[in-house]
């Protein structure tokens, strides 16, 4: 697979997760060889991560993010760097909350969807990295018609 890197800079507010969806739409168009399930799992994980960053930074007066997505033989990689204060999101292994819980699933979902989720604090930025290896988990059964 040819390596390709693309980047997006967004500010929230006014940008929200729709900016990430639109950016990924372009990534998928430029990389038609990526399987549908890989795209779906990666996009879901990256949206959960972006939503978490945007939500936690909303009390700080907003955040600037730089998102890079790379596709290579090891799968899909994303690096999200944000200007929020350190420690807003605590990255530990999260159990999925109970069925009737209305929140608290974001990190657990990311961990269920991708092979790697890492956090580093570099030069006053939070840097989040995720990697999804090709077809690491079974696709769900098709929804009933």
């Amino acid at each position: 697979m040819t390596e390709s890197v693309t980047s997006l800079l967004f500010n929230s507010p006014p940008d929200d997760v729709d900016a990430v969806h639109e950016f990924l739409e372009q990534v998928w168009q430029a990389n038609p060889g990526i399987g549908e399930f890989d795209r779906m799992a990666f996009e879901t994980a990256l949206i959960e991560l972006s939503a978490n960053v945007i939500q936690h930074a909303s009390g700080e007066g907003g955040v600037t993010c730089v998102l890079s997505v790379t596709s290579d033989a090891d799968g899909l990689h994303a690096s999200l760097s944000d200007t929020a204060d350190a420690g807003g999101i605590v990255l530990v292994d999260r159990a999925m909350p109970d069925e009737l819980s209305e929140s608290g699933r974001g990190i657990a979902l990311i961990q269920a969807l991708v092979d790697e989720l890492r956090y580093e604090r570099i030069d006053e930025r939070n840097v989040w990295t995720i990697r999804k290896a090709p077809q690491a988990i079974e696709p769900p059964a098709a929804a009933e018609a």
């Binding site: 969806h21 779906m40 939503a51 069925e99 009737l100 209305e102 699933r105 974001g106 979902l109 769900p140």
Partner: protein, 110 residues
């Protein structure tokens, strides 16, 4: 996102939306459902076939609506989730409390 509603009688209301169910559109779904519950329609069907994408905020909104409907003596049932929506429901174990029905008619046949 705007949600359309269609009342079918016997307290049943169908709610339809198109696009992404997330932190932006979740509150609009909640408002729509609460308005229908106040109007005396506690048997809610959310048609998801035009919801291309749902994140955990959207899922939280659905669960909040389910609990509100049950408090009114009704329920919330879903129809036609996309592959992505089904994946999120399954990984969250929420498919056990929100199993998809095959049609609006099937959702309240009981």
């Amino acid at each position: 996102m705007e949600f359309q509603t269609e009342t079918l009688g016997d307290g049943v209301v169908v709610i339809r939306g198109e696009g992404r169910l997330n932190m932006v559109s979740g509150p609009a779904l909640r408002e729509t459902v609460l308005r229908e519950l106040e109007a005396g329609n506690p048997r809610v069907v959310v048609e998801l076939d035009r919801i291309a994408f749902m994140d955990s905020s959207g899922l939280g909104a659905l669960i909040s609506c389910l609990k509100a409907a049950r408090e009114k003596g009704g329920d919330l049932r879903i129809v036609g989730p996309s592959t992505q929506v089904s994946m999120v429901l399954r990984l969250s174990n929420v498919d056990t409390i929100l199993p998809p029905f095959e049609s609006v008619e099937a959702a309240y046949r009981d």
